[in-house]
Structure formats: structure tokens, C-alpha cells
């Protein structure tokens, strides 16, 4: 059995409704191959919540000033690389309508050790929320 399991029926009974522990000799699936000099991969998904501000929504529509956003993201990546030793940074941000439960943001950072990857991931997301020209509009309020 791989972890996470391909077949939900293989999931061991949960310790509680809010936690799950699996101690097993089975492989843990990676979302992409990792070179030997990297010991850490931090991956984050930002997902559209059903509640935004005052009420329930069906989706969020994202608008982007793309030429400027690309430049601002490149500046953030360059500064992150200056602050931490990182092997690779990948980021996707959806533009247009993203429904509740879907990911609007995905970021994956590889580094030799976990501290750099966690710190850079948080720092890039914080920077994006201050500098990158992307805006959202709730749909179906």
C-alpha cells in the first residue's frame, strides 16, 4: 500500500475524526521526484472556502494584472533565494472562477533542510498577499 493510499478502503481506522496516523513500511508517495541533495519538500494548497466575508459563496473569481504579477513573483522568488538556500520554487495561481473546494494557489518548495522550505513558503505567500496584483471577487453571495 502506498501512502496516501490510492484506495480509501485501505486507510486504517482513524485515531479520531480529526487525526490519522499510519506507521508502516509502505512507501510514501511524492508528488514529484526529489533529487538526492534535497531533504525537504514543502507543498501548500490555498483552497476556496465556502464562507467569504459576510456569507456563503459558490466560487471566487480572480483577476490578475498578469505582466506586473509575473514581475512581482520573480522579485519574490529572487529575494527568497537570497534569504534561504532553496533548490526549487514552483507556484501556480488560478485566474478566473475557482469553485469552493478547489485550489486557487499551489506552491511547492524543495530544499536541503525543512526550515528553509517552510520559512520560504510562508514568506512568499505573505509577500504575494502584499505585492502581487491579483484581486478576488466572491461569486454567488
Amino acid at each position: 500500500m502506498t501512502f496516501p493510499p490510492d484506495n480509501p478502503s485501505q486507510i486504517p481506522p482513524p485515531m479520531s475524526s480529526q487525526t490519522e496516523l499510519n506507521l508502516s513500511p509502505d512507501p510514501i508517495s511524492l508528488s514529484a521526484p526529489v533529487p538526492g541533495h534535497c531533504g525537504a519538500v514543502v507543498e501548500f494548497y490555498g483552497v476556496v472556502r465556502a464562507r467569504e466575508g459576510e456569507g456563503e459563496i459558490e466560487a471566487i473569481e480572480y483577476e490578475c494584472f498578469e505582466a506586473m504579477a509575473r514581475g512581482e513573483f520573480e522579485k519574490l522568488f529572487a529575494e527568497a533565494r537570497r534569504q534561504w538556500t532553496l533548490d526549487r520554487i514552483e507556484l501556480r495561481h488560478r485566474i478566473g472562477v475557482v469553485r469552493v473546494g478547489e485550489a486557487s494557489l499551489w506552491i511547492r518548495i524543495r530544499s536541503a533542510h525543512r526550515a528553509e522550505a517552510f520559512a520560504a513558503c510562508q514568506w512568499i505567500i505573505d509577500g504575494m498577499k502584499r505585492k502581487v496584483p491579483i484581486w478576488k471577487r466572491p461569486v454567488g453571495v
Binding site: 494584472f65 506586473m68 494557489l105
Partner: protein, 85 residues
């Protein structure tokens, strides 16, 4: 008298909605700054002035200060606070 400059103004997101207008050309006296351009925008769309304190400003694809001098063909973007993620 020196000739003026023609720039393009772009409003983004909620600002575009507030003005019901996304972009237009604007003629300004030579040596005009971003602040001068803003005053012209407010004169045309008074509602946009309500955003003044939170506006993000760019010339081309770079953030700009209000003191930056505008040049012929510049594109001045007025943006509400960003909300990515």
C-alpha cells in the same frame, strides 16, 4: 510652452467597477507626476477618490510613487489592495 504628454490610465478590479470604465487616454501638461494624473482621474470619477489612501499605483509594470514624473506613452495603473491566494 512645452508640449504635454499623453498617458493611458487603467483601473483594476473594484476601481473599474466603481467607475464603470477600465481605461482611457489622458493628456497632461509636461512634467506632470503620478499625483497630477490622480487628480485628473478623481475629477473624472469622483468615487475613485474614496480609495485614495489605500490605492496601489504603478507606471507600466512597476510600483510607482506619487512623485514620479509621467512620460509620453506611460501607462498609469490604479489598483485596490491586492488579494491573491
Amino acid at each position: 510652452m512645452s508640449p504635454g504628454v499623453t498617458i493611458r490610465v487603467r483601473l483594476w478590479a473594484q476601481l473599474r467597477d466603481a467607475a464603470s470604465c477600465g481605461e482611457w487616454e489622458l493628456e497632461l501638461p509636461a512634467g506632470s507626476t503620478v499625483a497630477t494624473g490622480l487628480e485628473s482621474v478623481y475629477a473624472r470619477f469622483p468615487k475613485i477618490r474614496e480609495w485614495d489612501r489605500s490605492l496601489l499605483l504603478a507606471v507600466g509594470t512597476e510600483y510607482a510613487l506619487r512623485t514620479q514624473v509621467l512620460c509620453e506613452g506611460d501607462e498609469l495603473s490604479l489598483m485596490p489592495p491586492v488579494q491573491g491566494g
